[in-house]
Amino acid sequence: MEIGWNQLAQYIVSGLTTGSVYALVALGFCLIYNATRIVNFAQGDFLSLGGLLMYSTVTSFGLPAWLGFPLSVAGTALVGACLERLCIRPSRSREVTNLIFITIAASILLRGLFMHVWGKEALALPPLSPETPLRVLGAAFTPQNLWVLGITLSAIGILVFFFNRTLMGKALRATAANARAAALMGIDTRMMTMLSFALAGALGALAGILITPITSLSYDVGVLMGLKGFAAAVLGGYGNFYGAVLGGVGLGLLESLGAGLISTVYKDVIAFVALLLVLFLRPSGLLGGGSQERL
């Protein structure tokens, strides 16, 4: 089989697109992990919710996309904050295992609610702007591809600014580094934990709004995407911010090239084989530090 440059470029474009979305999901995992040491299995449901809210605001209520977009992100962030406030904080046991299972239970509950509200059928979410492909270097970019890349890059830029330049971002980092010390310095660490969940919700919603016009939208679309974002986070070094981005983009490219050059049938296996290989060979991930105690 002859693989032309055009085809390869196309694979890279689609790999970068899905990779950006994985990176957004992985960042959400990182934020919550750093604040609480738990893996949030409801992260994928944030993604579904983002897409579903966008569908409701734009298609059902007929709001313009520029209004529906922030509303969906804010709505999902609110659900994220509620997850922390109503499920994680009141938990009688602070054991990490127990908290992880709370997120699993919350995920089942959320999925049930989504199914009840939006139904089982797949929904069609229109892309952010009309579809007229552009040709760059032999690859066809749809405007949605550009939106995904652009919004992901800006989200990462905003996060970097937030963590390094704002008081709240620094307080969040301090909480992640040492919650007790941060509390002694007068930081409201419980507030920071809630903020992490809200931010993770917002990132998940972004991912959902961006990717569901390309793939498809249904109440459970977030399950597989969430797991792949999780694999991306492990790949990069769980809890590592830049690792999450690198892991996400790497995984997206790996998947797209693997599907294009080897087999589309086993596309979904690639992410998880990569996950197993990383765990076996370099469990701290690509950018993980020396510490092997994670999760």
Binding site: C87, S93, I104, A105, G112, H116, V269
Partner: protein
């Protein structure tokens, strides 16, 4: 015999007599079928609970081991005409080596890497079951699995399988209990209290963890083989990650790390979806809601909570 031993014996005898007595009243094949599925779940959950309670690790891949057992038994007996009982053993051995392969690199590490590795494993199993359709039958499942035979007699009815499944489950419970009180079990309990102290006292920490993981995978594989012969048809959906989550949920609901807790969880949760079948629409909401409430307010599980209550009651009476 120790007090704990007496209590276990008492509980076991109660359970065994309940198992023996139930078919006297229950003749309806549908209810027997539900009981059989409960029995299979008990078998898996007892093993899983050993892993969670004693090794302190969670597996989200036990439905994968369950599936490997079921499909190996199904395909090797159905397509290749192997002897069902031998195949069951073969499937268990193969599952054990898979568990060994996953367990050795991940259980060596601190932190709960096993969760991620087993999760990945389960997804890979599901994809292969779906995609290798000329071997596994793909999404619509594999059919034509021959029944098990005992002394030339085929086991077909729900009633016959009831004895086989619950007999196996009871044996597995006794084995698990004995393991808890063996050298390995004591080592693992020491490990749960303090890994460093256990290691210092000469407990081969990693090897014990891997052993328990393998044992729990073998339980799941045997349950899978029984499932395949019982139903005669198997589909990939039965063995996906949601099933794994469900199995772990049973452990949590009853109480992590108590033998009886897992049993209780399986007995309570297995019929629940059947009962909630009437309002299918709300199934996940109710299921997730119950779990959430238990996890938040009764983290020691229902059995653990009851035990504490009873304990408190007796303490008060004695005073």
């Amino acid at each position: 015999m120790s007090r704990e031993g007496k209590r276990f014996l008492l509980g076991f005898l109660l359970l065994a007599s309940a198992v023996a007595a139930l078919p006297v009243w229950i003749r309806n094949p549908y209810y027997l079928n539900v009981l059989n599925v409960v029995g299979l779940h008990v078998l898996i959950v007892v093993g899983l609970n050993l892993l969670i309670g004693f090794a302190g690790h969670i597996s989200l891949g036990h439905a994968g081991f369950f599936g490997v057992g079921a499909y190996l038994s199904g395909i090797l007996t159905g397509t290749y005409g192997w002897c069902p009982w031998l195949t069951m053993g073969f499937a268990a051995c193969l599952t054990a080596s898979l568990a060994l392969g996953i367990g050795i690199p991940t259980l060596r590490l601190k932190g709960n890497y096993l969760v991620m590795a087993t999760l990945g494993f389960n997804i890979i199993v599901t994809v292969f079951l779906l995609q290798l359709d000329n071997l596994t039958g793909g999404p619509s499942g594999y059919t034509g699995i021959p029944p098990l035979t005992v002394f030339g007699r085929s086991l077909i009815s729900d009633f016959e399988f009831y004895w086989l499944i619950w007999g196996t489950a009871l044996v597995s419970l006794v084995l698990a209990r004995n393991l808890c009180h063996s050298r390995v079990g004591r080592g693992l309990r020491a490990l749960h209290e303090s890994p460093d102290a256990a290691a210092a006292a000469g407990v081969p920490v990693e090897r014990y963890k891997v052993k328990v993981f393998i044992l729990s995978a073998v339980y799941a594989s045997v349950a899978g083989s029984l499932y395949a012969h019982y139903y005669g048809i198997i589909t990939p959906k039965t063995f996906d990650i949601f099933k794994s989550v469900e199995l772990v949920t049973m452990c949590i609901l009853g109480g992590m790390g108590t033998l009886w807790g897992g049993l209780f969880g399986a007995v309570f949760l297995t019929p629940l979806p059947q009962l909630l079948h009437f309002f299918d629409e709300y199934k996940d909401i109710i299921f997730g809601g119950i779990l959430l409430v238990i996890l938040i307010f009764l983290p020691q599980g229902l059995v653990g909570w009851l035990e504490n209550r009873l304990h408190a009651l007796f303490q008060n009476n004695r005073r």
